[in-house]
Amino acid sequence: MTVEYMRAITERYRSLGYAPYRWFRAEDAPPWQPFSRPLSQARLGLLSTSGAYALGQVAYHYKDDTSIRGIASDTPDAQLRFSHITENYLVDARRDPGCILPLAALRQLAGEGVIGKLADKVFSCMGGVYSQRRVREEVAPALLAAFRAERVDAALLVAM
């Protein structure tokens, strides 16, 4: 049994008087870009939708913030912070960022040679954006440009 989040969230907020949220349901098959290069020779990018930021950066706001942050991939855990509209899911991440921003694990895999190289900068966004149009038109293109600037061969996207 897995948790039925869409049903539970829709029901919970309906009982609080909100109109049901129209979740994204893809009607067409996913696009596909083959990953042809061996991982051990690839430059890997990372996105976490957890609202992560590094000490010294500006935190996210909670009203459909569509901005992104670039975080140096050698940032120590002690300098990682989180701001996300559902702060209740951040309790553990704020103690150990590895729960949702797996920098330490990726650095270790790069050290072992499993990954060719971890990109110099990894990215975050505040995934709790209600407007799917704004995700498509603002967040996704900004991340595409950011990953291209980092010249990544592939990207791991971690959802909160």
Partner: protein
């Protein structure tokens, strides 16, 4: 909501030439979003890359996700990992409840720093201008 965002971003990156793998813990939202490659870990939201202070668990999950990035040959398949959050499934009942209060923070348009010290650090670095500071 984050899982929806990740699916939309993955589809955009993939359509523009960057292979992706999504790692998430809300199976139904991943299924609806049809990401090109996805890995499901059956943990409470907020732990898609592992349990806190369990480096071996985090490493195993990330390694498995990257394995799917390398090995997947057909779009849209979701690979479930065998990891268990706890022997007791009480967390699933709590996560799936259909009644309860609003767990979201107010939709405030000012930066929501984790602490006052973080705001000071952002001012000191120049990332946050004094005029923006709430």
């Amino acid at each position: 909501m984050c899982h929806q965002t990740v699916c939309l971003v993955a589809r955009h990156l993939e359509a523009n030439g960057i292979p992706t793998v999504c790692l998430g813990s809300a199976l139904d939202i991943l299924e609806a979003g049809r990401a090109p490659r996805a890995v499901f870990v059956d943990y409470p939201l907020g732990h898609s890359s592992g349990k806190p202070f369990d480096a071996a668990d985090q490493l195993g999950i990330v390694r498995a996700a990257l394995g799917v990035l390398e090995s997947a040959v057909e779009p849209g398949r979701i690979v479930g990992l065998p990891n268990q959050w706890a022997a007791d499934l009480a967390w699933k009942q709590d996560a799936g409840r259909t009644r309860g209060g609003d767990t979201r923070q107010a939709r405030d348009e000012t930066p929501q720093f984790q602490s006052g010290a973080d705001r000071e650090a952002a001012l000191a670095s120049g990332a946050l201008r004094a005029a923006q500071a709430p």
